[in-house]
Point group: C2
Chain length 351, copies 2
């Protein structure tokens, strides 16, 4: 793309607010010098945080709002007022064409609702999906949907696969990613009818990904596929089970290391090992969940992200805009739909 990406940032979101988000914008500006930022939030707070970053300040536009959505607010209760919040205005900028992407570390439910209502789903997409990277033994894996839709049918799952493959091509840099559907067994007969029908549709699709069939929960961490597709319910359960278990194991280790003199000595000797483990599993390194399938790029950062983490979320937004995720999804979806409605002709053309 020839236009420089413009990214709308919700400065007020996240546990630390402007002190993290503004510093992250300054870091991202150095990584992606052509990018320009629109900063949404309390002007006085933003101005104050920008004092340390005169170059960022000179290039950025501040859009003031008093309205804040708290992390604990229920989306259903705040939706009306939230449109004028820093989250709502950042999403609105994408809708108005003033920015190519919005990034927020704020209330997930509010961001999803505002993005869905404000940007609407792309033509050919029935429901948007929340996608993110997870660490594995090998490279990272893209997982979607991570919780946007509690119930999904076979059409939704197939569309998630197409979107997830486009996402993987950009963020993992893989030309022909492998895509699997999360299921309770690997045999064709496993799961619900929706799982089987989605697998059937993907198996016969001729797109720039390979369909690897079904994958079970214990294989997520093995890194054998590049994209894992699931309904939002089990995807969310898987994601959180993984997060919880990683924390459990690290906590058990920490306790065990405090047991006696030898274990404390062992801990001291192993400190670098343990930090390398922590680094591998660090949520900040994998920060930036993307709400795919809307008319615009929307990235959700962890609320607890640090400067590096929020800058990584901005980086995801940058890459998706710069590599034209929207156009890629639109093109692949059109091919996928054309194949399903005229499979014989397409097959002939492919031969």
């Amino acid at each position: 793309m020839t236009v420089a990406p413009i990214i709308a940032l919700d400065i007020m979101g996240g546990d630390e607010g402007a002190s993290v988000t503004v510093a992250a914008a300054a870091l991202a500006r150095m990584r992606y010098p052509e990018t320009r930022f629109r900063l949404y939030g309390d002007e006085a707070v933003i101005e104050d945080a920008l004092r340390k970053y005169p170059a960022l300040k000179a290039e950025s536009q501040i859009i003031h709002t008093d309205v804040r959505v708290l992390g604990t607010d229920k989306p259903s209760q705040v939706l009306r007022s939230a449109r004028k919040s820093s989250i709502g205005l950042a999403v609105g900028a994408v809708k108005a064409g003033e920015a190519h992407a919005a990034v927020s570390a704020g209330n997930t439910g509010a961001l999803m609702a505002l993005a869905k209502i404000g940007l609407k789903t792309m033509p050919g997409i029935d429901r948007p999906a929340l996608a993110a990277l997870l660490p594995t033994m090998k490279s990272d894996v893209v997982m979607l949907d991570l919780g946007a839709n509690a119930e999904c049918d076979d059409e939704n799952l197939s569309q998630f696969a197409v979107m997830g493959a486009c996402f993987a091509r950009i963020v993992l840099g893989i030309d022909t990613p492998s895509v699997a559907i999360l299921n309770i067994g690997e045999e064709d007969l496993k799961g619900t009818d929706d799982h089987k029908d989605a697998a059937e549709a993907l198996r016969s699709a001729k797109l720039d990904f390979t369909f690897a069939g079904f994958i079970e929960g214990d294989k997520i961490g093995r890194g054998e596929v590049d994209v894992i597709v699931s309904d939002g319910f089990s995807g969310n359960i898987a994601l959180k089970s993984i997060e919880g278990t990683a924390r459990l194991v690290v906590e058990l280790l920490r306790r065990a290391f405090r047991a006696n003199f030898w274990s404390i000595l062992g801990f001291v000797m192993s400190k670098r090992v343990l930090s390398s483990l922590r680094a591998h599993l660090d949520p900040n390194a994998h920060n930036g969940a993307v709400f795919l399938g809307l008319n615009g790029v929307v990235v959700k950062s962890h609320g607890s992200a640090n400067v590096e983490g929020f800058a990584n979320a901005i980086g995801v937004a940058h890459d998706l805009v710069a590599d034209g995720i929207q156009e890629r999804i639109a093109t692949d979806l059109a091919r996928f739909q054309a194949q399903r409605h005229a499979p014989a002709a397409e097959q002939q053309a492919a031969e």
Copy 2:
């Protein structure tokens, strides 16, 4: 109960077959001297394995069969012949009243199918559920359904809660266990209608457990509740995500420890720490998934269980029989149903 438990063992199941299962029976016999065993499988193999355990041999009955179901067999293909296999005959013994419980480390799908068809569901239970213990930061937690039913409605979930509480009372020894439903958020509005309706039914139930609402995947490992209820799809995804992540973290640790001299030294100093971690997460210590809701006790051992692990699975079967799990579930279910059909009268009586 006054009768000594009689347990039917599938001797041929599991990765190691008779060498593990017979040794485990001998170990279980020492732990539960009043228990008697019926051993199903190839007579010559069983006789051979029993040579080391004359006391067990003297008290046990061997029932010969040539038919074996392999771990890789698809249940749909083997179901007819499987009835005469060591798994099928062990389940059949429970049906015929010749044993109180059956234990197998064989093909899960075949065991579930044979048990469901052979024993049928208890009155008041629409679908049986697979329940097991998982390690947490505190005590263990009971989870069900772990994969018997890909789709579950609110009635199924409520019945799982009642059964899970009975199971927890026996295996965890807690008089009033706390029960939560696995969901993608903790607020009342989260999840599908089935989740919300099940929560509503459990919230107003007056039984010997407390209903703790919804719980998210990352809280499974915290040990804040005693029973976690889920549909079989997301329960299986959660279980396997947990297993896979624990393995991933341990593997990453192992790799990191091999990095250099200091980390190897650290590893040596930390060996006891790491084995204590492994012991805490050891699947053998938590072995024995139970197929709840059938007219009889059926316990599934991990295929890879060692002697200790298979003996633990036998121990679960023993405890459930000795503590009358079937009668407990029947009683609690009847109370639950009575409350739902006459809530006002029950409420009055309770005041």
